[in-house]
């Protein structure tokens, strides 16, 4: 199992029946693959639909039904069209139960940077700032390190997405819960030790006596 699949399978277990969930482009969008249809979860695409469904078979694409990345999708029975004001009203107003986003850095206070690398990548924040500020629960899904550098840092060198403390960080090595006390190590990836995680993490982690291994969605 590669790192991305592992992260997606672990994040999938955070999703509860009946939730409204927004999945970011890229890795986060993979989470949907591991959420059983029986949960009655609704996925929001912030460009305008509640009840996002799978990619349609070839020849059945509708140019009026796409996700936030511009790719063709389908809609489940019971889907609703929403304009951008309603879409972000749901997000900002806390009606979105969970957002899963990629991250560039998470700092000691549990704050996320994920929208800009000054001088290199200035794509615009899109919906990220509203999602992180407004969603009821914010889950960051990202690799633990990039080019040998920890993405869980004491202080973000990159511009913050929001002052809001995120609720959970899931990486290929660990599950970390930012709390008022600091970053709590909650789970280890299969075959990864607490020492491995500490070695790969720049920020200070609160390590409880027992750090169980992640359970992944099937």
């Amino acid at each position: 199992m590669d790192a991305k699949e592992l992260i997606a399978r672990r994040v999938a277990r955070e999703i509860r029946p009946g939730m409204l969930v927004n999945l970011g482009i890229g890795l986060p969008s993979m989470v949907a693959n591991y959420v059983p249809a029986t949960l009655g979860v609704f996925f929001q695409a912030e460009n305008g639909v509640i009840g996002l469904g799978a990619r349609p078979p070839e020849g059945m694409q509708d140019p009026h039904l796409t996700d936030a990345g511009g790719g063709f999708v389908s809609a489940v029975p019971g889907a609703a069209s929403i304009d951008s004001a309603m879409s972000f009203g749901l997000i900002r107003g806390g009606h979105l139960d969970m957002t899963v986003l990629g991250g560039l850095q998470v700092n000691q206070a549990g704050q996320l940077a994920n929208w800009k690398v000054p001088g290199k990548m200035v794509p615009g924040m899109g919906g990220a700032m509203d999602l992180v500020t407004g969603a009821a629960r914010v889950v960051v899904a990202m690799q633990h390190e990039v080019k040998g550098q920890s993405k869980i840092v004491r202080a973000c060198g990159l511009p913050l997405t929001s002052l809001r403390r995120v609720d959970l960080v899931v990486t290929d090595l660990a599950v970390i819960a930012p709390t008022e006390a600091g970053l709590e190590l909650r789970e280890r990836a299969p075959g990864v030790s607490v020492a491995d995680i500490l070695a790969a993490t720049e920020a200070e982690l609160i390590v409880p006596a027992d750090v169980p291994e992640m359970v992944l969605a099937p």
């Binding site: 409204l20 009655g40 609704f42 639909v49 509640i50 009840g51 809609a75 029975p77 019971g78 889907a79 609703a80 069209s81 929403i82 309603m86 972000f88 009203g89 749901l90 997000i91 900002r92 107003g93 806390g94 009606h95 407004g134």
Partner: protein
């Protein structure tokens, strides 16, 4: 999927002292069966946030007549002489709000905005005691957001996901208060199978709705 409750079961959820946003404009689009059940149960000291208090015998007017309401936030109470009489007698506290400001305050509460910047009411009694901010050289009142413990919605069609569609002038406050109630209870005229309401006709996505009221026969 949401089950459908009898109106009496919905009224059981509402405690004394609760704040209720109630849809409807002069009782058009108001969930009458929920209101009847609240009157039946005799829930007291309610705060009602709505466009108006209708007229005696209709919609919110029934709550007023039954003496269940302690506070009203509305744009107009002129067609219900009982509301006016109880206000003058000090039995009901009324906050009168311009209609466009009222609906935007509810929308702001439901959509996580900090309030409303409006020119409406500047230089009138409505301005009294309120913060004013200047934006690009123009002055605006800062009107605060509104939320409530319950939003009581009158709708046309619902499905069991909770999606709601409305008819003509029975929309009014309903699609907006659906955003601002901690618990949202919808009373549709009909509940149809999931998939029957076209996505483009859904004005209130089902994720906002907590409970549906079943049609009683």
């Amino acid at each position: 999927m949401k089950g459908a409750l009898k109106a009496a079961a919905a009224a059981e959820m509402i405690p004394d002292g609760a704040s209720l946003m109630i849809g409807g404009f002069m009782a058009v689009g108001t969930p009458e069966r929920i209101i009847d059940a609240i009157v039946e149960r005799g829930v007291r000291d309610l705060t009602v946030i709505a466009n108006d208090t209708a007229m005696p015998g209709h919609g919110i007017g029934k709550l007023i007549t039954a003496g269940l309401v302690r506070r009203v936030v509305a744009s107009h109470i002129g067609l219900n002489p009982e509301t006016q009489a109880k206000m003058i007698a000090g039995e009901i506290a009324c906050e009168l709000v311009p209609q466009g400001t009222l609906i935007e305050r509810i929308r702001a509460g439901g959509m996580g905005l900090g309030g409303v910047l409006t020119p409406t009411g500047l230089g009138t009694e409505v301005e009294e005691g309120k913060q004013i901010v200047e934006v690009e050289g123009k002055r605006f009142l800062v009107e605060t957001p509104l939320k409530a413990d319950f939003a009581l919605i009158g709708a046309w069609q619902a499905d069991y996901v909770g999606n709601l569609a409305y008819l003509l002038t029975a929309h009014n406050f309903n699609p907006i208060i659906a955003l601002a109630g901690a618990t949202v209870i919808a009373e549709p005229e009909a509940i149809v199978p999931v998939g029957v309401i076209p996505p483009d006709l859904v004005k209130t996505p089902g994720v906002l709705v907590d409970h549906l009221i079943v049609r009683e026969s």
